[in-house]
């Protein structure tokens, strides 16, 4: 087995690591990397002989428990039945505020994105929210978002068992401190350095003097990913899986 890991596999493996110990993780629509990360978590739990994470992948028929319509995800989350979820954003700022609505003055946004979806609720009630945005540029990671779809932190009187714990990008992994509040760079993906990440980030963040490299996947995990998870993901994300297989063929890893 080649030790070479594709960038997307590093992201998926990192997500699986961030999900360690969850009982139930939900994944929203058009999110192939978070879906694969959740599937890898379940596969690792099964391999390790611990209770396996339950998955609710929106858009999947096979990997989805819900039978009560699109309200059920929110009802389950409100009761604390969902431990982890993923959010992204057209903009994300240093307070972990997320903007899914648009650029410029609301309501006549210069650039309009689809909208807030369930973020203004799930960010409050899901304990382990992982922010995921592959594009790591100053236009995404801004000082202040133009519109707060969902705030990163709340004042003490607001009911908030949930919130952000981590931010994963194409360049690195950050953790979020709700007390400070702010991000800390935990690790850099191979091929990226601190100065590059600082220049690509519009907000300040804490960091060790020499940030470590995001750990690579061991051979056994990579094997699970390329055999089991790739096949499980195909039902919901056929185009993504085909692209991934092409990348693997390029590595000389075609199966």
């Amino acid at each position: 087995m080649s030790a070479e890991t594709l960038p997307r596999e590093l992201l998926i493996g990192t997500i699986a690591r961030l999900l360690e110990g969850v009982r139930h993780v939900a994944v929203g629509a058009t999110s192939p990397i978070p879906a694969a990360g959740a599937m890898l978590r379940r596969a690792l739990d099964e391999r390790n002989g611990v209770p396996a994470a339950r998955l609710s992948i929106l858009g999947s028929v096979r990997h989805n428990f819900f039978t009560n319509g699109s309200a059920e995800l929110f009802d389950a989350a409100g009761q604390g039945r969902i431990d982890a979820f993923f959010l992204s954003g057209g903009q994300i700022d240093g307070q972990a505020n997320v903007n899914l609505v648009g650029l410029g003055d609301y309501p006549r946004s210069e650039v309009r994105w689809p909208g807030s979806f369930g973020s203004a609720y799930l960010y409050f009630v899901v304990p382990r929210v992982i922010l995921f945005r592959e594009e790591h540029t100053p236009r995404v990671f801004v000082k202040n978002v133009d519109f707060i779809s969902a705030p990163g932190v709340s004042s003490p009187e607001v009911y908030r068992p949930g919130g952000p714990v981590a931010l994963l990008t194409g360049k690195g992994l950050f953790s979020f401190d709700r007390q400070r509040p702010g991000f800390t760079l935990d690790s850099l993906h191979p091929g990226h350095d601190l100065m590059e990440v600082q220049e690509a980030t519009g907000f300040d963040f804490a960091h060790p003097a020499n940030p470590p490299v995001t750990p690579a996947l061991d051979a056994s995990t990579l094997g699970l990913l390329r055999r089991q998870v790739l096949n499980e993901l195909e039902e919901t994300y056929p185009a993504y899986v085909a692209d991934w297989r092409r990348d693997l063929a390029g590595l000389g890893e075609a199966h």
């Binding site: 058009t30 309009r112 994105w113 807030s116 519109f147 707060i148």
Partner: protein, 268 residues
């Protein structure tokens, strides 16, 4: 009870509040062109809880005055071009929401109560821009504990697509319970179906549990592949290529008009 697309479209009058389902639940795309041809305007759309192609086409056709939604997009095919343009032009009034707030508003209507409280939202610009929502302190808490109140959403009419109905007006919606939620909350419910079956769907316990009873259904029209280019659960997949073709065509008002006149002649 058994009707046709044009008769059903004629039930939609100017300034009505129209509830439409999320793209994967069963969108009555076959109703879109009859609604546009009928031409009742100044509509208020309620997306349950998000909108897509149908919403974009009704906006493009100039029938929409205002919209309540948690998002509008074409999914894998990208942004919704006529919606995005209308936002930029200030041509429609926006009530941006979040998915569970729309479910909460419909649930309040279903129960015949004035509002439903819900968690979250506090500190968001979604809440800040909704002067029809309220925040109060939880009256059962010792102190503090602010919570948001969502007023009941009572659409005049709900429009969706489902696999089958029977001759008695019962509609089989399976596990897509948001379709029932729309119907419970709305004054009228118009349904297109793939097929109408002879026997009663409530006589068999296996189908009865997934039935929206005729009590809540105003009219039904048969429309095979009526969700196209969207898919219908358990029946057929979404035609993503067609969504992409629309997404490109509808970037301009003229391109949208051309697509709509052409599409009138094309059948899936």
């Amino acid at each position: 009870m058994l009707s046709n697309l044009d008769e059903m479209a004629a039930r939609i009058g100017p300034r009505m509040h129209v509830a439409l389902p999320v793209d994967y639940a069963g969108v009555a795309m076959a109703m879109t062109r009859p609604i546009i041809a009928h031409g009742a305007g100044e509509l208020h759309l309620v997306c349950v809880p998000t909108g897509g192609l149908q919403v974009d086409q009704l906006i493009g056709a100039g029938l929409v005055h205002s919209i309540e939604t948690s998002a509008v997009s074409l999914g894998e095919a990208g942004g919704a071009p006529r919606f995005n343009q209308a936002v930029k032009d200030g041509a429609i009034h926006l009530s941006d929401a979040t998915c569970p707030a729309i479910h909460a508003g419909l649930m309040a209507a279903q129960k015949g109560i004035p509002f439903m409280p819900m968690r979250g939202l506090i500190g968001s610009d979604v809440l800040r821009n909704r002067d029809d929502w309220r925040v109060m302190d939880n009256p059962f808490a010792a102190a503090g504990d602010p919570i948001v109140l969502i007023p009941a959403i009572r659409p005049d009419v709900a429009v969706f697509h489902a696999p089958m109905a029977d001759r008695f007006g019962n509609v089989w919606i399976g596990r897509r319970r948001e379709l029932a939620a729309m119907a419970y909350a709305s004054g009228e419910t118009l349904v297109t179906v793939e097929r109408v079956v002879d026997g009663s769907l409530v006589d068999d316990e296996m189908t009865a549990a997934g039935v929206l009873p005729a009590l809540y259904v105003t009219a039904i029209a048969e429309a095979p592949r009526g969700a196209w280019p969207y898919g219908l659960w358990g029946e057929y997949a979404t035609d993503v290529d067609e969504l992409k073709r629309y997404a490109v065509a509808a970037r301009s008002a003229q391109g949208f008009a051309d697509y709509m006149s052409e599409a009138l002649r094309v059948h899936p």
